[in-house]
Symmetry: C2
Subunit: 262 residues, 2 copies
Amino acid sequence: MIGIFDSGVGGMTVARAIEHICPDYPLIYFGDIARTPYGSKSRETIIEYSRRNTDLLINHGATVIVIACNSAASTATDALRNQYPLPVIDVITPATVKAASVTRGNRVGIIGTRATVRSGVYEDRIQAINPDCRVISRACPLLVPLVEENWLNRRETKMILRRYLHPLRLQQIDTLVLGCTHYPLLSKLIQPRIGKRVQLIDSSIEVAMHLKKFIDNNADIKDKLQQHPAASRFLVSDSTGPVRQLADRIFGRTIHLEKVDA
Amino acid sequence: MIGIFDSGVGGMTVARAIEHICPDYPLIYFGDIARTPYGSKSRETIIEYSRRNTDLLINHGATVIVIACNSAASTATDALRNQYPLPVIDVITPATVKAASVTRGNRVGIIGTRATVRSGVYEDRIQAINPDCRVISRACPLLVPLVEENWLNRRETKMILRRYLHPLRLQQIDTLVLGCTHYPLLSKLIQPRIGKRVQLIDSSIEVAMHLKKFIDNNADIKDKLQQHPAASRFLVSDSTGPVRQLADRIFGRTIHLEKVDA
């Protein structure tokens, strides 16, 4: 199965994109709702939780791991790759490859949680591919709670977005990476406020397309994924009404969340 | 020592009030930053974490426990009282006693996290004291992240407060309980938006005054607290820059946070 973990329910935007783009393989998702959000936690804590999540997914049959949480991907990817003998795909790299290739003016903006921005990982990776590219990052800690409140059409949300995006507009970015899994739900509000000519990069779609290519190019992984056909499962370490509503909203259908001890 | 725990750093408003009102006894504080916030978690998870926090405080010398977290107090107080042979004081009861006694028109408003409001505990306790009192509750999940962003003077914060308080104004409450430890930092913004004539009840001050009375009336507790003079300590399960800044902001001085495994 394709194992996917996130600190919460936001990573379901990644699961949904993978379901659309790789429909032939079952998913096993784990959302660490009991410990969400990772974005405000320290490096050591994020690595420790990412290891536990990977163990859990492997115990449930995962043969490839997708880190859907930007905070975990920016902090724990190397630690997981060093420890586990299976492919670990992170939600960040495909978006940085895309951003580095599509920017026309070499000015890329990044928005994400504090932990993601603090790590500097987007900047480093984009500049590793395109050293001429200027990367401007902005932490936006209020966007996740606004999405979780479902305040998508509220004036306050629009004002907060305008305030967060303003410095990126001043820097005249031409490409903006949505560096947090909750943000695709805000993309319709972000586009007019950052400007029509700025290309938005949705990391959930980029990682799903990367995963598809990776599976198509690796026959042994493809075989393993096809060996045990099973239904997709969605595990969570905690479950509340707003979490279930957000999951249903992301998928556009009722999602059965299974609570597990983790 | 007086043991105090919270899901994060907000409970330090309680620690600070206790330091002011009970200056003769050392405090041992634990903020469960690694698992914050509790407000969005399920009942079982909150009880489990509250037990772990109580064990930790007892191991560090606590002889009385103050649950400074509203979500934990509303959910786990009975479980802790049934399990532990030491006094457990919750942040909710003193505020409800005060609200029930000061309301002139028997119309009390409560603001808090989703978990606190969902529990109905404020309503139940106020009506147990004063059955004629009408209690109107409102969950305000965005206020904690706004305080943690330090957006105390921003227009967006004022608009969001106005939106949250509007239904309470319409109900013509005369008393408003700040049912979350972060909210005392917003009281100067809340007062003009709810109306000058509405009395705000700060649960951190009420619980500190209750604790003082409790110690003064219980000689054995007082003896135990005075037996081992020690300096106050502030433990956290995780530590980041914004957390340290918020701790310093609450106390108005530099607070040394000790990270512990928990």
